[in-house]
Every structure is written in C-alpha cells, then in structure tokens.
C-alpha cells in the first residue's frame, strides 16, 4: 500500500523539476515573473514534499519489514536489444532516499534563496529553468535503477553545470570557465563509459544495480572471483568520479566554476552534483569492495586531495575560491571515507557537508550581494555589524566544517578519520600502514581547514571595513530564511550519526545497503580509541581556529606577511595553486590546441573543405566547363554530334 504510493510519488519527485524546467524554459515569454518564481521554486519543493512523505511512509514499514526496504518502479522499457535490456526504472532504497532528501531539501532552499539573489537578472526564467533541469538530472542520477540511467543523470548534471557556470555567457571568462568544467568532466565521463562497457561486455554483467548486486553477492558469484576485471571497472568508474567530484587530477574545473551565480555554486558545486562521485561509489560499494587496490587508490586520492586543496585554500583571497577549494578538500574526505570502506561515513559527511557548505556558499552570496559583487576578502571586514544573520549562520557553518565538537561536521569528519585509522580491507591486499598515512594527511588537512575557514571568517566579518565605497546591508528574507534553515541543519544533521553503535541512527538506516560490503572490511578499533581520536581532532580543530585568530585578529597579525616574505617561493606556489593549471595547459591544452589547429588547417580546411566540399564543386564545375565547350553556340558542332551518333548507331547495327 505505502510502497505503491511511494512508487507513484517517485515520478513526482523526478518529474516535477522537469515540468518546472519545461514551463520556465519554453513559455517564460508569456509568464509573469511571479509565476516564474512560483513554478521554479514550487517544483523542487513539491519534490521535497514527496520525498519527505516517502521517507516517513517507508520508515513506518521498517518495523514490519526487517528485510531490505526498497521501492522500484518502471516507466518504460528503454533499450531492448539482444542480451541487453535496460528499463527506465527508478529505484528508491535507503541510500538513494538519503540522497534524494539532501538534493531536494537543500535544493529547494537554494531555489528559494535564488529568488532574492537573482531578482534583478534579465535572464531570470532561464536561470530557474536551468536550475530545475539540474534538479531533474540530479534526481535521475540518484534514483536511476540502472547504471546507464545514472549516467544519463550524470551527463545531465554536467550539462546543467556547464549552462549555469556560463550563465553570464557574455563575459568571456565565465563562458570559458563553463567550457573548462564541461571538457574536464568529459574526460572523467569517458572513464565512466569505459567502466560501463567493461562491466557489460567483459564481465557479461548487467547495468541494473540491484541485479548486479545480487549477481555479485550470491555465494557462487562468478564476478566476485574476477578481481582483475573488477579492479579495471572500478578504476574506470573512479576516473569518472574524479571528474565529477573534482578530485586530483581532475579537480581544476571546480574553482573556475565559481564564475556562475553563487546559488549555483552552492547547489551544484558544493552540495549535490560534486558529490555524485561519492554517491556512485557508495551505490556500487559491493563492486568496489571486491577490488582492494581500487579502494586504496580511492582513499589515497581522497586524502591527497583533501590536503592539497586545503593548502591552496590557505592563500586564496576570493571568497568563493576559498570555499571552492574547501569543497574539493571536503570531497577528498568523502572519498577517503568510502575508499577505506566506511561507506556510511562517507555518505554521512556528504549529507552534513551539503548543509554547512550550502550555508557557507549562500552566506558568501549574501556577502557578495551586499558588497555589490565584490569577492575579494582583503577588501571586506566588519560585516558582522551590518549583516547579523548572515554572520551568525556563516559562523555556525565555519564551526561545523572546522570540526568543532557538537556540530555536524565534527561527527561526520571524525567518523571518516576514525575509519581511516582503524579500517582494513579484509583481503589484506593493502598495507596496514597506508590507512595511518591517510589519517595523518587528513588530520593535517583538518588543521588547515579550520585555519583557512576562520581566516575567511575573520577577514570578512570582523575588524574594520577595508573598502570605503561599500554600504553593506542585510539580505532580504528569501535569502536569510534558507540561511537560517541550513545553519540549523549544519548544527543538527550530525546528531543522527552519534559515535555509538546504538545511537548511530544514520548507520542503522543505511545498514541494508552496506551490510554485505561491511563484512569484508576489518575494524581494529574500539570505543576508547574512537574517543581518543575524537579528542585529537577536536584539539586540531580548535588549534586551527586559534591559529587563524592569532594571525588575523590577535598578536600574530604580522605573521602571514612574514611567512609569505620568508618563503616567497612556497607562498607564490600556493597562491598560484601550485601552477597546476599552467602545468595542464603546457602538457595537455596547448598540444591539443596545436593538434586542433593542425587538423583544422589540413584535415578540415585541406581535406574536407578543399578536396571533398570544394573539390566536388570544382569537379562539377570542370565537367560543366567541358560540356559547355559542346554547347558553344556553333550549330554545326551540334550537327556533328547528331551525325556522329548516327554513325555510331549504323556501325553498331550493321
């Protein structure tokens, strides 16, 4: 009964945003701005309401059905060719339920916020149309039952990301940023596609996720023994994840993606789309857990990215760039979590991060709004007085991301750190010290996180205004209400995952999804160790905050300058993001451009245009010139032609 309702509601969840996108995208010319807002914001809220209803309804079933709670519904048979049969099916299990709630919940708030943020924009309807289309794609990604449908959503969010980063496309830099995001993502998507092909054709598998899961987890599974192939598949899929989730080496697009409107950064480049890679790995946990090497790689890339991006974040002056690198860094944590086998922890961090990072971005948007487009934090300061709500919510989120005890980030990040410290892959294929190394990297990143976040906070909100022509004011209610709600989430979201077996509701909820994989992960931890590590990370967080306070508010106020002067090379390298963009430009972009130019000149202009297009025209013209010689106006030539024909005929007949 409830399941039937939920199956119907799944369509509402997925297609309500699509309807909003279609209405605003095609008919905005005839719609009033009020209607555009209502449709654009109403659609995700409708999705959220449906998701919430489904959640409550399914929770009610948990007591009766101890088994796996999942709802599936098929709209139509999408691809049916020979051995391959793929349906357009939606699939709701606890994991996708969590993701759906996060996406629709945070997404709805950001839509609401956008009403205030974008109120003067001439392309208001286009903005909401793209944003709704993004919601649709993201929900398709989350709820797609088949890996291929997930990929459709995956590409859809990539497209919307491109459209929204380049939303103000008349600005060349922003258009280029959109292009960069799209192209870098394409590289990752190629890996994803390759992984799907291998899965489908090498391993004779299916792309249907539950079916795949059954095939893998059955006792006499064939796939479970193909470690090499599984490693290839999972590595390919992980390449896709590094593109979408901005991990080393494909993270370079995310900081540039800040060119889009700030709510877009909050929704797509912080809370939802960039977590798709983490979600995908968690979704396929049963497959990844079969490949210990891939797991180690995932965790390693995650830990490295966390540290690397955090260190860059220390030296950035653009408020959104700092948050962008922070996002890259936090995504690294999530990958560390899922890579170590703490899938629940990774998803937990994904959820808490969605709250506080969305709140941070929206707060930054509020600041930028108030500062009339100024994004340089060196020119801000003292905003606490004029923007109390923004300041309070921003502070809460900073505390949460820094990992101050009691706030959401603390619980989730701690779980990941603890997981990195104690979890081992059951196969023993990975060296035991690797986890400890990752833990150390992640702890260092945590210190930096606390430092740069509070550097950002202090430079922005405390002290005196360093810009003279700014008259900051608090943002309207449509912007502050989402901020308040998200800040509340940043506080409360952590409490569903208390570090105790009994009270970790989040893990209990996700238990059915990760149970099989969990058996293959060995834990060497205990409660005492967990609390010790908690204490350690709390100390680290507070140290980081203290450092930031000393350097930007307290006695060491000259220290940043001094360090920058003492280590000019290091400072410049960090300030310039380690020259990674330049390196990529040298290694890939410029050779590619040369190749493109070459192929343009020789293949396109030379072969295609010269030989094929103009060549065919020239040959037609040549034939025309030849035949024109016959039609030369000389009547006698025509007579000769006739007579030669007659002669040939006679020759042939007699």
């Amino acid at each position: 009964m409830v399941k039937g309702q939920v199956a119907t509601l799944l369509y509402v969840i997925v297609f309500a945003p699509l309807a909003g996108a279609v209405v605003n995208g095609l008919f905005s010319r005839w719609l009033s701005r009020r209607f555009v807002s209502a449709a654009g914001v109403g659609a995700p809220f409708l999705s959220f309401a449906a998701a919430l209803y489904s959640f409550v309804g399914l929770m009610g079933l948990r007591g009766q059905e101890p088994e796996f709670t999942a709802v599936s519904t098929t709209l139509f048979s999408w691809i049916s060719t020979g051995p391959i049969s793929i349906d357009f099916s939606l699939y709701l299990d606890p994991l996708s339920m969590v993701m759906t709630l996060v996406v629709t919940g945070v997404g709805s708030l950001i839509h609401l916020y956008s009403v205030g943020y974008m109120h003067g924009d001439p392309s208001y309807a286009r903005y909401f149309s793209h944003l709704n289309l993004f919601m649709f794609s993201m929900l398709l990604l989350v709820l797609g039952r088949s890996l291929l449908l997930l990929f459709v959503g995956w590409e859809g969010v990539g497209l919307c990301s491109y459209l929204l980063i380049g939303f103000w496309f008349s600005d060349m830099d922003k258009a280029i940023a959109g292009k960069k995001a799209f192209i870098v993502n394409r590289i990752g998507d190629f890996g994803f596609l390759l992984g799907m092909f291998v899965l489908l054709f090498w391993m004779g598998g299916t792309l249907d996720i539950p079916a795949l899961r059954d095939a893998v987890t059955s006792p006499d599974s064939r796939i479970a023994s193909m470690t090499g192939a599984v490693t290839v598949v999972t590595l390919c899929l992980f390449v896709g994840a590094t593109g979408k989730s901005a991990q080393i080496p494909l993270y370079v697009w995310l900081p540039d993606a800040m060119a889009g409107p700030t709510p877009v950064s909050a929704l797509i480049h912080a809370a939802t789309m960039v977590t798709a890679g983490v979600y995908m790995i968690a979704r396929l946990n049963f497959l990844f857990v079969l490949a210990p090497v891939t797991m180690a790689v995932v965790a390693g890339v995650g830990a490295l990215t966390a540290l690397f991006a955090a260190s860059i974040g220390l030296a950035q002056n653009d408020i959104k760039k700092v948050l962008a690198y922070s996002t890259v860094s936090q995504l690294g944590y999530m990958f560390l979590g899922v890579g170590m086998g703490a899938f629940g922890a990774g998803i937990f961090h994904l959820m808490t991060h969605a709250f506080f990072k969305a709140c941070l971005f929206l707060g930054a948007g509020s600041v930028i709004h108030a500062m009339h487009g100024e994004q340089d934090i060196q020119k801000m300061g003292g905003l606490a007085r004029s923007m109390p709500i923004t300041r309070a919510t921003f502070l809460i989120s900073c505390l949460a991301i820094a990992g101050v005890p009691g706030l959401s980030g603390f619980f989730s990040k701690d779980e990941i750190l603890y997981g990195a410290f104690v979890l081992r892959h059951g196969s023993g294929a990975v060296a035991p010290w690797l986890g400890k190394l990752y833990f150390a990297l992640a702890l260092a990143a945590a210190l930096m996180t606390a430092t740069y976040m509070f550097r950002l906070y202090f430079l922005t909100f405390s002290g005196e205004m360093r810009s003279h022509d700014a008259h900051p004011h608090e943002s309207p209610a449509t912007m502050t209400i989402p901020l308040i709600l998200l800040a509340a989430g940043a506080i409360a979201a952590g409490w569903v995952g208390l570090p105790d077996e009994k009270w970790n509701l989040f893990h209990h909820y996700l238990e059915p999804v990760f149970a099989w994989s969990g058996e293959r992960i060995v834990s060497t931890g205990n409660h005492a160790l967990e609390f010790t590590l908690m204490g350690l990370s709390s100390v680290v967080a507070l140290t980081g905050i203290g450092l930031a306070w000393l350097m930007y508010r307290g006695a060491w106020r000259d220290e940043p300058e001094r360090i920058a002067r003492a280590l000019p090379r290091l400072y410049r390298a960090v300030f310039n993001k380690y020259y990674v963009d330049e390196l990529y430009a040298f290694l890939f972009v410029r050779p590619l451009q040369r190749l493109s130019r070459w192929s343009f000149r020789w293949v396109d202009a030379g072969l295609v245009d010269g030989v094929l297009v103009n060549g065919s025209a020239r040959s037609v013209r040549g034939v025309g010139l030849l035949t024109r010689m016959m039609v030369n106006g000389d009547v006698q030539a025509y007579a000769v032609a006739v007579f030669v024909g007659l002669a040939v005929l006679v020759w042939w007949m007699f």
Binding site: V640, A647, V650
Partner: protein, 178 residues
C-alpha cells in the same frame, strides 16, 4: 546495258559530281558558284526521277527547286553580295575532321549494308498490269487527297506559317533597331 540504265548512271554520276561541287571548297567558296552547282545537281536528280518513272515529281522538282528555290537562293546571294575575303582562312578544326570521319563511316557502312541487302532482290517491273499510270498526276493526286489528305492540308498550313515567318524575320525592324 540498256539505254535506261546507262542514262541512270550518267545522271547519277552528274548529280553526285554537282553535289560535290556544292560542298567542296574550290567551288563553294563563292556562294554563287555553289548555288549554280546545286541548280545543276537538282536538275540531274530530276532526270533520275524521270528514269524512276516519277514523272509528276520530276516536274515538280524542276518547278519548285530549280525554279522557285534556286531563284530565291540566287536572289539572296546576290542581295547579300558577300565579299570573298569574308570566308578566307578556312580552318581544319577537330569538329570538321570528326564530321568527315563520321560521314565516311556512315556512308561506307550503310552502302555495304544496302548493297548486301538489295543484291539479288526482285527487280521492279512497271510493265505489270495496272501500272501504266504509275507516277502520273492521276495516281499521285488521288493518293494526296485520300491517303495523305491530312498531311497535305497540314503542308498548306506549314507553307502559310513559313511565309509569315519569313516575312517577319526578314523584315527590317521599325525604328532601326538591330
């Protein structure tokens, strides 16, 4: 060889020779000479017609061709009063070579085929009963107004149109336009 046959060969040879004179350059360079050669040719062909017992047609040949058509030709040639130098510098173009080659092929092949087909065929005999009036006005006239009535009437329309067309084309444009 009977006299009739002999006359045929003489007349045929003369006709071919005249035709060659019309076409070949030494004569034909002057259109008036060509016209005269044509006149002779048509007269010889009229003779051939007589030998072929086509009396009416032979008379018509003389009247229409030798009389009307050739007068017209001569008249125009003299009217235009073409200077010789206008046609000097005859060129041997690929077209002309091809034309002569094609004509040679056509003539040789067709002649061989005709000779091969007609050799040994039954000869015509006009002495057979009922053929005394062959080629006379009565016979041909009857055919014209019975079997060929429609083409005959059409011919009159054709001639009318030709007269009108010739007048229209040859007329000097009013106002002195080209």
């Amino acid at each position: 060889m009977s006299g009739e046959l002999l006359a045929f060969y003489v007349l045929a040879g003369a006709a071919v020779a005249g035709a060659l004179c019309v076409v070949l350059p030494p004569f034909g360079r002057n259109p008036l000479h060509a016209a005269l050669a044509l006149l002779a040719t048509l007269a010889f062909v009229a003779g051939v017609f007589v030998i072929l017992s086509a009396h009416l047609v032979a008379v018509l040949q003389v009247l229409v061709y030798v009389g009307a058509v050739m007068v017209l030709f001569t008249f125009v040639v003299l009217l235009l009063n073409l200077r010789r130098e206008e046609f000097i510098g005859a060129r041997v173009t690929p077209w002309k070579v091809g034309a002569v080659a094609a004509a040679a092929v056509f003539a040789v092949k067709t002649a061989r085929a005709v000779v091969a087909a007609a050799t040994g065929a039954r000869a015509a005999d006009l002495a057979a009963p009922g053929l005394e009036t062959y080629g006379g006005i009565r016979d041909v006239g009857r055919e014209l107004v019975t079997t060929y009535l429609f083409p005959f009437e059409l011919t009159s329309i054709l001639l009318l149109v030709a007269i009108l067309g010739a007048v229209l084309i040859a007329r000097r444009r009013e106002g002195g336009a080209p």
